[in-house]
């Protein structure tokens, strides 16, 4: 059964992308097609998860080449679980994007290219999860990165080009490093098949192993945004359209985390770099969350919490024990869902309030109680308030850390608690300002005008230069608003739309978008309800990872290579 199903999560989206490109002129058909494809991928992934959990790992040789030569797709509990979570989230985001596209027309997102690219992205993510050899993992990364370049710079506004360039150059560097690492691995062992590498890498001298391990770790660390390599993320993510940021935040960094888990457990089980990973995890958590506390823009704040919480997963990996890995796997699943939901909520907030700058928002809880609930529950989940799944994941990791018992592990446990508290502070600030305070506490005129000016600035930053006043200074939206407030209006300022009501009423929330967000928020709650079975699954996946034998024997059969 696995032989038939395993290639489908890669094949279906690719074929769907081709189809979606062919029917680009018929938006309704295109939307239906991509939704159907993603539903099918989700169904296949769920089936794969059940099979992998019941019967253990399985492998397919694509193209019928004998095992060490050809390309192998491997489905074990970890990759199947990742597939399920990823395709669920991708489906939710797609529905959200369809809702947004239907409401906005094709102004913000040129839809004809959005759907094919999104499907290619899903194909790349699936390929990376299923890859049984290092080079196929590289190809999977490249597919998803190529799609992500297009999605991130969709529409080609100045802000997106600027953010996109950072992202592209950093991703390229990491890809080249990964490729060079593959070259060295091949030179040292004569294979790129991961199951074979699991055996052969152990026979290498320790120094060589350490070099290869650190090269792979740096390459994946960039993709996963682990601390010294994380600065690119908050710079590039917030500029993209809401659904794109959501799917990036949920999936792309987690593919990097998955690759780290895979290489650390399967290829380099000795844990030679565990200490380095520990400190990297601590720095990721603390630096990330301190960045989040300093931000005043909702999306940037979320981007920083994204970086910060990657630290929890790295912590679990660095522990290297089955308990630590189980915690990391559970946390990855939880965090994909939660972060995607929060970024979608940020998209809704932007529609409702006209901006994501927290200082300019206010009274959202009164204006849209549903939106407030949709923000509050995932935000508390992110901070790790019991009994939500974030709490369970953190608890599992902290318990694993205490069980490990070393001084570094205890430091990380403390760091994890502090990070959790600071996360609560960061989301709490957003809650009190954007949602809870009454609208008139945020200067209403300023809010509206700044939002309007902000919107124009987002579209065409050159406008800002055009509307300089007498002393020839480039002015910011806030200064604009302030000048009008203090009644020093000039001729240019009259042109900016001042009506507060107009901006507020400008963007009602379409049902599809709210529905998709609510569904994902419900999923995060469901993760709490189903935490028992899920954690059991994560436990079994972690045991497989530590054991390594299931993976290797799924590829080579019973006899070792």
């Amino acid at each position: 059964m696995i032989e038939v199903l395993a290639p489908l999560p890669v094949l279906l989206p690719l074929l769907g992308a081709a189809g979606a490109l062919l029917v680009a002129r018929r938006p309704t058909f295109q939307r239906t097609l991509s939704t159907v494809v993603l539903v099918a991928v989700l169904a296949v992934s769920v089936a794969l998860l059940f099979i992998a959990d019941a019967e253990g790992a399985g492998a397919v040789s694509v193209g019928g080449w004998p095992v060490p030569l050809g390309i192998v797709l491997v489905v074990d509990r970890l990759s199947a679980l990742m597939l399920v979570v990823a395709s669920t989230v991708a489906l939710g985001v797609l529905v959200f994007a369809v809702g947004q596209g239907a409401a906005d027309g094709s102004e913000e997102t040129p839809l004809s290219i959005f759907h094919p690219t999104f499907l290619v992205l899903v194909a790349g993510v699936s390929n990376a999860f299923l890859a049984g050899d290092l080079f196929n993992l590289y190809v999977g990364f490249e597919i998803l990165l190529m799609a992500s370049y297009v999605l991130l710079t969709l529409g080609g506004t100045a802000a997106r080009i600027r953010g996109g360039i950072t992202y592209i150059v950093v991703s390229l560097t990491s890809s080249l490093l990964f490729l060079a690492a593959i070259a060295l691995v091949y030179a040292a062992t004569g294979t790129v098949n991961m199951a074979q590498l699991a055996v052969r890498l152990g026979e290498l001298p320790e120094g060589t192993q350490l070099l290869l391990q650190s090269m792979l770790l740096v390459a994946f660390g960039i993709k996963a945004a682990v601390f010294p390599l994380s600065a690119w993320l908050p710079d590039s993510y917030p500029t993209a359209p809401a659904p794109v940021t959501a799917v990036f935040a949920g999936l792309l960094t987690k593919v990097g985390v998955y690759a780290i888990i895979r290489t650390q457990t399967l290829l380099f089980p000795g844990g030679a770099l565990d200490d380095v990973l520990m400190w990297a995890a601590l720095a990721t958590m603390l630096v990330g969350i301190l960045g989040a506390v300093a931000q005043s823009d909702l999306r940037r704040m979320l981007s920083f919490t994204l970086v910060s919480h990657i630290g929890y997963m790295v912590f679990g990996i660095a522990l290297g024990t089955a308990a630590g890995l189980a915690g990391a796997v559970f946390y990855v699943a939880h965090h994909i869902a939660i972060q995607t939901t929060l970024f979608l909520v940020a998209g809704l907030v932007e529609r409702q309030g006209g901006t994501t700058a927290v200082d300019r928002l206010g009274g959202l809880a009164r204006r849209s109680p549903l939106l407030a609930v949709l923000f509050f529950v995932p935000a508390m989940n992110l901070a790790g308030i019991p009994p939500l799944s974030g709490f369970i994941g953190k608890l599992g990791l902290l318990e694993a850390g205490v069980a490990e018992g070393s001084a570094a592990a205890y430091t990380l446990v403390a760091g994890g608690v502090v990070t959790s508290l600071l996360t609560l502070l960061a989301v709490g600030r957003v809650w009190t300002r954007a949602f809870w305070r009454s609208p008139n506490q945020a200067p209403a005129e300023d809010t509206a005008a700044a939002a309007a000016a902000d919107a124009t600035q987002r579209r065409r930053p050159s406008d800002d230069l055009a509307s300089t006043d007498d002393d020839d200074r480039p002015r910011t939206p806030l200064q604009d608003a302030w000048r009008r407030h203090t009644a020093v209006a000039t001729a240019t300022e009259v042109e900016t739309p001042p009506a507060a009501g107009a901006v507020r009423a400008l963007r009602p929330l379409p049902r599809t978008m709210v529905g998709a967000t609510a569904a994902l928020a419900a999923l995060t709650v469901a993760l709490t309800v189903l935490a028992g079975p899920l954690y059991g699954l994560a436990d079994r996946a972690a045991n497989d990872l530590v054991d390594r034998a299931p993976y290797v024997s799924s590829v080579f059969g019973e006899e070792a290579p």
């Binding site: 080079f135 190809v139 490249e142 190529m146 370049y149 297009v150 710079t153 080609g156 506004t157 100045a158 080009i161 600027r162 953010g163 996109g164 360039i165 950072t166 592209i168 150059v169 390229l172 560097t173 890809s175 080249l176 490729l179 060079a180 593959i182 070259a183 060295l184 091949y186 030179a187 790129v192 710079d235 917030p238 300093a294 931000q295 005043s296 823009d297 940037r300 200082d359 300002r433 506490q441 945020a442 200067p443 050159s462 200074r473 480039p474 002015r475 910011t476 939206p477 806030l478 200064q479 302030w482 203090t486």
Partner: protein, 163 residues
């Protein structure tokens, strides 16, 4: 067969030049740097195939004499990927030029705002409590109008804005 010194030297040289160009602010140089790095990596892959040998075609030569075909397959894939990414980068450079008549990497505005922000947030103060001349300064989380002044405490790159 004797090991060759030419390949390692070339690979090293290409990596060095590539990294140097990649760190430039001009996007065209970044693209050139990426191309050099890509070629360096391809050469590295090529050199993993071991010393040069005959074409890896069955029946054409003995198995002992042929070259390892796998790195070549990997290189072909890598070349295609590099090609695609370069084309996309060129499109981005073109777009950047169309937008701003400029093709350097821009500075992040929000970073500047955070860097320039004072300890107190704007909405925690009541504007009526302030002297009129201080009111503008209250919005310290917005970008200061005078970029020159900002350049003293924040690292504003010379590429844009500053003379």
């Amino acid at each position: 067969m004797t090991p060759t010194i030419v390949l390692p030297v070339m690979i090293g040289g290409l990596y060095a030049a590539g990294v140097y160009l990649l760190l430039d602010r001009s996007l065209t140089r970044v693209l050139l740097g990426f191309l050099l790095l890509g070629n360096a990596t391809n050469l590295l892959l090529l050199s993993t195939g071991g010393p040069a040998g005959l074409a890896p075609i069955l029946g054409y030569s003995d198995a002992e004499d042929i070259n390892d075909p796998l790195p070549q397959a990997l290189i072909l894939t890598a070349i295609v990927i590099t090609f695609g990414v370069s084309a996309f980068l060129l499109a981005i450079i073109h777009r950047s030029w169309r937008l701003a008549r400029n093709e350097v990497v821009g500075t992040d505005e929000e970073d500047r705002r955070v860097a320039a922000r004072r300890a107190t947030d704007a909405d925690e103060l009541d504007p009526d409590d302030l002297a009129p001349e201080d009111r503008a300064a209250m919005h310290a989380d917005s970008l200061p109008a005078d970029l020159e002044e900002l350049a003293d405490d924040v690292d504003v790159p010379a590429g844009r804005g500053a003379p």
